[in-house]
């Protein structure tokens, strides 16, 4: 009796529960990133003489390339969703592979930038320019959390792609994973201007 009542209950938003679950996660995660960016702004205003170490070459140029790579990966992920919904499994898998590749390129560019900064003496609590040490803590903290999301996204797309190929997952799973990937892109839309462009020398 209970089971039959459950089965006829309509979804309140007309979407699968996994998609609603992903949306709720995204809202919670957006609050986390919002809190980190507000904390960064708070520390920056409270510390006169905040370091603005970035110059166009290589940091901002690298950031622009990373932004273009991530935006392009969102477009390729849309391609994966459209192909999956149209029943073109092979095309969807190809789009997902390109998305993963772009995610790896983004992570590699990010790590290269990190290593260059560490080589200059930047640490979580060390500022080679002699300014507030909180710069390193906020920079590595915010970009590190975002990088963790990118790497997780690449792994998630890989797992869903494999399951989709084997018939274990369907187009709705691909769409739900795409939602997460677009969110990672969306967070970067705030990290790049606030953490990079606002710190141009």
């Amino acid at each position: 009796m209970g089971e039959s009542v459950m089965s006829i209950e309509a979804s309140p938003y007309g979407i699968p529960s996994k998609k609603l679950g992903m949306w709720l996660f995204i809202i919670a995660d957006a609050s986390t990133f919002g809190a980190m960016l507000f904390a960064y702004g708070y520390l920056r205003v409270a510390n006169p003489g905040w370091s603005r170490p970035f110059v166009f070459w290589p940091t901002i140029a690298n950031g622009i390339v990373m932004t273009v790579v991530l935006l392009t990966s969102s477009l390729t992920m849309v391609g994966a969703v459209l192909a999956a919904q149209a029943g073109r499994k092979a095309a969807s898998l190809r789009w997902m592979s390109v998305t993963m590749l772009l995610g790896v390129v983004f992570a590699a560019l990010h790590l290269r930038e990190w290593l260059a900064m560490i080589g200059e003496g930047w640490r979580l609590f060390q500022n080679p320019l002699g300014g507030p040490v909180q710069f390193g803590a906020t920079f590595f903290g915010i970009t590190g959390l975002h990088l963790l999301h990118v790497v997780s996204g690449v792994v998630a797309i890989g797992v869903i792609g494999l399951g989709f190929r084997r018939g274990r997952f369907d187009a709705a799973h691909v769409e739900t994973t795409a939602l997460y990937w677009h969110f990672v892109d969306l967070v970067w839309m705030f990290v790049f201007p606030l953490v990079y462009l606002m710190n141009v020398r």
Binding site: L24, F38, Y42, L197
Partner: protein, 96 residues
């Protein structure tokens, strides 16, 4: 759901916004004006991504109204405590 052509146009639009952000960075604004311009462009960019890439434009309005205002309220509440950062400046102890 629109076809790939619409998404390519959206992607180009997002790239144009990124170019505008970089241009605004080197336009010699004051720090406050630079922050305002960059934030406005970032919100515009995120809005376009939400509506098109994340398909919020094609979902029921109830989904939008259940999710987005809640996030905005949370962020505004965080912003409410922002002036504390300025207050902190006046609470510094003089150097010995």
């Amino acid at each position: 759901m629109p076809g790939m052509r619409v998404y390519v146009i959206v992607w180009i639009g997002l790239l144009v916004i990124v170019a505008a952000e970089v241009a605004a960075t080197y336009a010699h604004f004051t720090v406050g004006a630079q922050l305002a311009v960059l934030l406005a462009l970032a919100v515009l960019e995120a809005g376009i991504a939400l509506l098109y890439f994340m398909h919020l434009k094609y979902e029921r309005p109830s989904l939008f109204w259940s999710l987005i205002p809640a996030l905005v309220v949370v962020l505004v509440l965080m912003d409410h405590f922002w002036p504390d950062a300025v207050r902190l400046l006046h609470q510094r102890l003089p150097a010995p």
